[in-house]
C-alpha cells in the first residue's frame, strides 16, 4: 500500500516536473520571441528584457534569471526521486540491479520529455558528465580504495588495464573493419582509423558500472579489486588511445608514419605517469594541508573535495589522465587525512563523499536512459550493432582468460577459473564510453550517430542484461550448495572454527612473497613520508600507547555515563543502597542487550534494583541456534570491504575484536606468568564463575589500544596496523600489569565507595590476576599503597596525566622477575 502511494506521488511529481521542464523550455523560446517584439506590459511576465515597465510590478516571473539553476536542481531532484522509488522495494532490487532500474526510469522520463517536446531537450552532456558528475565518483573510489589489496594485486590490475584494454580496442576495431570489408555492414562510410577510434572508446571498462553492479553481488575481494582497479586504471589507456586515434583521423591516413606511431606510444607513458604524478602531488598537498587545519576544523572536510576536484581539473588541463590523477590522489591521501583530521571531520568526509558519489551515479544512469529517447541518434545498422555487441563480449572473455592464464603462473594465489569467468563477465561498459562517443567530431566522422547508438546499446546490454544475470551467474558457478537442511549446531560451530583457523593459518604462513617490497615500502614510509605528511600529534597517536590509554579512559567514562543515564540517572552515585558494581555484571545487561540491541558493552554495570532485573530474565527456552548466529564472532575474512556505496558496518566488528583480543591477551598473560612463576595456568575456563569472567574482561582492557587504533582503519589496513604493533606486544604484555585501562578510577566518588572494610574487599579491578584467580587478591600495587585516602585517590586519578614511567618501572621491578631474555627488538614490521 505504501509503495502504491509512493508510486502515485512520484508519478505526479514526475508529470509536474516534466510538464514544468517542457513548459520551461517552451517559455524560453517564447520569451526570446517576446523580447524581440518589444514592449510587454503585464505584471506577470516582466523582468529581463521585456521592455520598459509602466507600473511597479508586485511580483514578477523571473524564469530567465534562474532557468539553468532551476533545471539543474530539478533534475537532480527528479533523479534522486527515481532512486527513492526504486529502493522502496527490496524484492525488486535483489534481482535487478539498481543501475538497470535507473536506466529504465530514464527511459520513462525521456519518453515523457519526448512526448512533451518532440525533441530531446535533455541528454547526458559530455561536459557535464566529465566535469561535474564523474570526478566525485572517482574521488570516492580512490579515497575508499583498500590500499593493501589494491597494491598487492597491482600487477594484475595493470596488466589487465593496459594490455587488456589495448587488446579490446585493437581486436574490436580490426574485426569490425574486417567485417565491413567483408560486406556485413552494408554501406557505411567508416575507414579503418575510424574503426580503431570506435574500438578504443568502446574498449574501456567503466568504473561506475562496475561499482554499481558488483556492489550488489558480493564477490570475493581479489576478484573485485582486479576488475575495479582495472576499470579505474584503464582510463590512462583509453584517453591515450582515443586522442591518438582522434588525431590520426584528423591527420588522415596518409600522414601516419612511424614517427607518429612512436609519438603515440610515448604519449601513453606521458599521460599515464603524468596523470599519476599529478594525483600524487595533490595527495601530498592535501595531506600537508590537513596537517595545519587544526584551527578551522569546521571547514576541514571541504579541502578534500576541493583539492580532489582540482587534481582532476589540473590533469585534464594538462591533457593527462584525469581519472588516474584523482584516483591516486585519493589513494595517497586517505591514510594521512584520516590521521591528521579530527574524527568528526573524517566522518564528515566519508559521508559527504558517499552522498556525492552515489548521487552522481544515480544522475548518470538516469540520464543514460533519457539520452536514448532521441530520434536523431537512432541510426540502425543491424550488422554494425550486433557485431559490436558480440565482439565486445567475446573479446573480453578471450582477453581476460589469456592474460589471467599468463598471470596465474606468476601469482602466488592463482585466480580460479570461475573467478575469471566473472571477471570477463564483469567487463561492463558505461557512461564513459557514451561520453567519449558524444565527443566525436561529426565532421570527421560521418557516422557519429550510429556510433552513439551502438554505444548506448552496448551500455544497456552490459549494465542491464549482464547486471541482472550477474548475481545468478555468481551463485550458479559456485560449488553447488548443500541441501538447505537444518545445519546442525556442531556444524555451525565447526564452520566458524574453520574460518578462524584459516585466518590464523594465513597469518602464520604470511603473505608469502611480497613481504620484501612491503617491508621496504613501510620503512620508506615511516622514515620519510609520515614525518612529512602527518601531524606530530597524529604521529604520536600512532605509536604511543599513552594517548590510547587516555582515549580508553574517555571511552570508559562515556560508557559509564550512558549506562547511568539508561538506568535513570547517575544519582545512584550518592545513593548508599546502590552497589556500584565494577564487576561488570553482564548477566543483566545482556538480556537487555538482546532486547534492545545496544552498541557496546558497558564496562560497569549498576546493580540498582537487583530484584526487578532478575525478573526480566528470559525464560530458559532460548533459541539456541539463534543464539549462535547472533553471537559467533565473525572471522576477519568476512569483514566486508568498505567501498560499497551504501554500507557502513564497522561498529560490531570492533567490539568483537576487542573481546577476542582481550581474552587472548589475558590467556597469554596467564601462561606467560605461569611460565615465569612456575605455577600451572589455572583452569579458569572450566569453572567459570562470573567473577572471573568479569575479571578477565577488566584486566585486559588495556589491550584495547590496538582496537581503537584499528577502529579507524580496520577495514582496509588490518594487516598494516596490526603488523605495526607487533613490536609492542611483548613489551605490552609485560606492562599489562599496570592495567592502564583499569576502569574508571574516578577519584571523585571513590571515597564514597570505599568503606572501612576495604581491606577485606579489594575491588577486583585493582586486583592482580594471580595464577589462582578464583580468589580475588590485591595486586602488589594495591597492597603496597591501598588507596584509602583522598590523597591516594588523587594520585590514582593523576595516572592518565602522569607518564607511565614512574609506576610501570616500579611495578615491573616489583612484580615480575626480569625476563630471562631482554625483550626482543621490535621485529621489522614487514613480518606480518
Amino acid at each position: 500500500m505504501a509503495t502504491l502511494w509512493r508510486f502515485t506521488l512520484f508519478l505526479c511529481m514526475l508529470l509536474m516536473a516534466c510538464g514544468g521542464l517542457s513548459l520551461a523550455s517552451k517559455e524560453a523560446k517564447t520569451r526570446s520571441s517576446q523580447t524581440e517584439t518589444g514592449t510587454h506590459n503585464t505584471t506577470e511576465e516582466g523582468g529581463h528584457g521585456a521592455g520598459p515597465i509602466t507600473t511597479l510590478p508586485i511580483v514578477t516571473w523571473k524564469w530567465d534569471h534562474i532557468s539553468v539553476q532551476y533545471l539543474v536542481a530539478l533534475w537532480v531532484l527528479v533523479c534522486w526521486l527515481c532512486k527513492l522509488l526504486i529502493e522502496a522495494n527490496h524484492n525488486v532490487t535483489n534481482y535487478i540491479p539498481e543501475s538497470a532500474l535507473l536506466i529504465c526510469s530514464g527511459f520513462i522520463l525521456g519518453g515523457m520529455i519526448w512526448g512533451a517536446d518532440k525533441v530531446q531537450t535533455f541528454s547526458l552532456n559530455p561536459t557535464v558528465f566529465f566535469y561535474f558528475l564523474l570526478p566525485q565518483i572517482i574521488l570516492d573510489s580512490g579515497y575508499h580504495m583498500p590500499n593493501k589489496l589494491f597494491f598487492t594485486n597491482l600487477g594484475a590490475i595493470l596488466i589487465h588495464a593496459v594490455i587488456g584494454t589495448c587488446w579490446n580496442a585493437a581486436s574490436l576495431g580490426l574485426s569490425l573493419w574486417g567485417c565491413h570489408m567483408g560486406g556485413a555492414m552494408g554501406d557505411l562510410d567508416i575507414g579503418l582509423l575510424q574503426y580503431l577510434l570506435f574500438g578504443s572508446l568502446m574498449a574501456a571498462v567503466d568504473p561506475v558500472a562496475v561499482l554499481a553492479v558488483f556492489d550488489q553481488v558480493h564477490v570475493n575481494e581479489v576478484l573485485f579489486i582486479i576488475v575495479f582497479g582495472e576499470s579505474l586504471l584503464n582510463d590512462g589507456v583509453t584517453v591515450v588511445l582515443f586522442n591518438v586515434f582522434d588525431a590520426f583521423v584528423s591527420l588522415g591516413g596518409g600522414r601516419i608514419n612511424a614517427a607518429e606511431i612512436i609519438k603515440g606510444i610515448v604519449s601513453f607513458f606521458v599521460v599515464a605517469f603524468g596523470g599519476s604524478l599529478v594525483g600524487i602531488a595533490f595527495g601530498i598537498l592535501i595531506s600537508l594541508l590537513t596537517r595545519c587545519t587544526k584551527n578551522i576544523q569546521i571547514i576541514e572536510p571541504g579541502f578534500i573535495f576541493v583539492m580532489g576536484y582540482l587534481s582532476y581539473l589540473t590533469a585534464e588541463m594538462l591533457s593527462l589522465s584525469a581519472i588516474l590523477s584523482t584516483t591516486f590522489c585519493g589513494v595517497l591521501c586517505q591514510k594521512y587525512v584520516r590521521a591528521n583530521m579530527d574524527e568528526s571531520s573524517v566522518q564528515t568526509v566519508k559521508y559527504a563523499m558517499k552522498v556525492f558519489a552515489n548521487g552522481s551515479e544515480t544522475i548518470i544512469f538516469v540520464f543514460l536512459g533519457i539520452s536514448a529517447i532521441d530520434k536523431v541518434i537512432w541510426v540502425w545498422n543491424t550488422g554494425f550493432i550486433l557485431l559490436t555487441v558480440f565482439f565486445v563480449f567475446v573479446y573480453r572473455f578471450i582477453g581476460v582468460f589469456f592474460l589471467q592464464w599468463i598471470l596465474n603462473r606468476y601469482r602466488l594465489v592463482p585466480v580460479e577459473l570461475m573467478d575469471m569467468v566473472i571477471m570477463s563477465y564483469g567487463g561492463l561498459r558505461g557512461a564513459v564510453a557514451y561520453g567519449l562517443a558524444v565527443l566525436l567530431d561529426e565532421k570527421k566522422i560521418k557516422e557519429k550517430n550510429l556510433m552513439i547508438c551502438t554505444t548506448l546499446i552496448v551500455v544497456y546490454f552490459t549494465v542491464i542484461l549482464q547486471g541482472i544475470t550477474m548475481k545468478p551467474l555468481v551463485m550458479w558457478l559456485k560449488v553447488k550448495r548443500a541441501a538447505v537442511a537444518e545445519v546442525s549446531l556442531l556444524e555451525k560451530i565447526t564452520n566458524k572454527m574453520f574460518n578462524h583457523t584459516l585466518v590464523a593459518i594465513e597469518d602464520i604462513s604470511g603473505q608469502i612473497g611480497d613481504n620484501y617490497f612491503r617491508s621496504k615500502w613501510r620503512h620508506f614510509e615511516e622514515k620519510w613520508m609520515t614525518p612529512f605528511l602527518m601531524k606530530p600529534s597524529a604521529r604520536k597517536k600512532q605509536d604511543d600507547v599513552f594517548d590510547v590509554f587516555h582515549q580508553l579512559n574517555l571511552k570508559d567514562a562515556m560508557e559509564y555515563v550512558t549506562e547511568g543515564e539508561r538506568r535513570g540517572s547517575l544519582e545512584f552515585v550518592r545513593n548508599d543502597s546502590a552497589i556500584l558494581d565494577f564487576k561488570k555484571k553482564l548477566e543483566i545487561t545482556d538480556m537487555i542487550g538482546f532486547l534492545c540491541s545496544r552498541d557496546h558493552i558497558p564496562s560497569v554495570s549498576l546493580e540498582m534494583h537487583e530484584q526487578t532485573m532478575k525478573a526480566m530474565r528470559e525464560p530458559e527456552a532460548v533459541d539456541v541456534h539463534h543464539l549462535l548466529d547472533q553471537h559467533l564472532y565473525k572471522s576477519r575474512k568476512q569483514y566486508r570491504h568498505g567501498f560499497s556505496r551504501s554500507d557502513f558496518k564497522i561498529n560490531r566488528d570492533e567490539k568483537e575484536v576487542q573481546e577476542i583480543f582481550q581474552r587472548t591477551m589475558r590467556n597469554r598473560l596467564e601462561s606467560f606468568k605461569s611460565a615465569k612463576m612456575g605455577v600451572s595456568p589455572p583452569k579458569t575456563l572450566v569453572k567459570y564463575s562470573k567473577k572471573e569472567q568479569q575479571e578477565k574482561v577488566k584486566t585486559k582492557r588495556g589491550n584495547k589500544e590496538l582496537d581503537s587504533i584499528h577502529s579507524t582503519d580496520f577495514e582496509f589496513s588490518e594487516g598494516d596496523s596490526a603488523s605495526g604493533y607487533d613490536s609492542s606486544y611483548p613489551s605490552f604484555s609485560m606492562r599489562a600489569t599496570y592495567r592502564p585501562g583499569g576502569g574508571i578510577e574516578n577519584p571523585a566518588f571513590m571515597p564514597d565507595l570505599y568503606p572501612t572494610d576495604l581491606l577485606q574487599e579489594i575491588p577486583p579491578w585493582l586486583a592482580e590476576g594471580e595464577p589462582d584467580s578464583s580468589m580475588v587478591a590485591p595486586s602488589l600495587r594495591a597492597q603496597a599503597n591501598l588507596p584509602n585516602s583522598p590523597m591516594e585517590m588523587h594520585r590514582l586519578g593523576l595516572l592518565p596525566a602522569s607518564t607511565r614511567s614512574t609506576d610501570t618501572k616500579q611495578m615491573n621491578n616489583d612484580q615480575l622477575p626480569p625476563p630471562p631474555t631482554p625483550p626482543p627488538p621490535p621485529p621489522p614490521s614487514g613480518h606480518m
Partner: protein, 178 residues
C-alpha cells in the same frame, strides 16, 4: 619430508623464508613468543589453540619440518586423484583435515570432545554477552545432536558423521600451499 607433504620446492622455499622471518631470534625453531608476535593470532578467538597445534606433545619449539607438516594439512585437496586409498596418506586428505579440526576441540587428546571442551571452544568463539546458562544449553544441544552412542561426548567418528555434508576441502584449504 618431501614425500609426506609433497609441497613443491618453490613453496617450501617460501615457507622457509616465512619460518625464518617468524623466528626472530634465529634459533632455527619457533617458540610461542614468535607466534604471539603475530598480531592476527591475538585477535583470533582460537589463535591460542592453533598455536598449540604446532607444538606437538610437550615440546615448546617448532622446527621447520613440524611447521611444514602442520601447514600441509591446509593444502588444497587434489581433486584429480579420486581414489580414496591413495589419498589417505596425504596430510591434506579430508580425513586428516577433519582430524586436525577435531584436535582443535579435543585439547586433552583423549579422542573425545567432552562437554567441557566444547564449552571452552564456545566460550572462546562467542561474544561476552552470552551467559553461562546459554552456553551450557548450546553445548548440551550440540552434543545431543551429534552424539550417537549417547556417551555424552563426541568421538571422532561422530564428528566426522556430523560434518559429512560440509565441504571440508574448501573450508580448510589455503590456496597458496599448493
Amino acid at each position: 619430508m618431501g614425500s609426506s607433504s609433497s609441497i613443491s620446492s618453490a613453496h617450501l622455499l617460501r615457507l622457509y623464508d616465512r619460518f625464518e622471518s617468524l623466528d626472530r631470534d634465529n634459533r632455527g625453531c619457533l617458540s610461542p613468543d614468535d607466534f604471539e608476535a603475530l598480531g592476527g593470532l591475538a585477535m583470533n578467538p582460537i589463535g591460542g589453540r592453533i598455536m598449540e597445534a604446532f607444538f606437538s606433545s610437550g615440546q615448546d619449539t617448532v622446527d621447520f619440518s613440524s611447521f611444514v607438516r602442520i601447514l600441509a594439512h591446509f593444502r588444497p585437496t587434489d581433486r584429480n586423484r579420486n581414489k580414496e586409498g591413495a589419498q589417505q596418506e596425504l596430510p591434506s586428505s579430508r580425513t586428516r583435515k577433519l582430524k586436525f579440526a577435531f584436535q582443535l576441540y579435543d585439547m586433552d587428546r583423549d579422542g573425545k570432545i567432552s562437554r567441557e571442551e566444547l564449552l571452552q571452544v564456545l566460550r572462546a568463539m562467542l561474544g561476552l554477552q552470552v551467559t553461562e546458562e546459554q552456553l551450557q544449553s548450546i553445548a548440551e544441544r550440540a552434543i545431543q545432536e551429534a552424539d550417537l552412542d549417547k556417551d555424552d561426548a563426541i568421538s571422532f567418528d561422530e564428528f566426522k558423521k556430523s560434518l559429512e555434508k560440509t565441504d571440508i576441502d574448501t573450508k580448510m584449504s589455503v590456496s597458496f600451499l599448493k
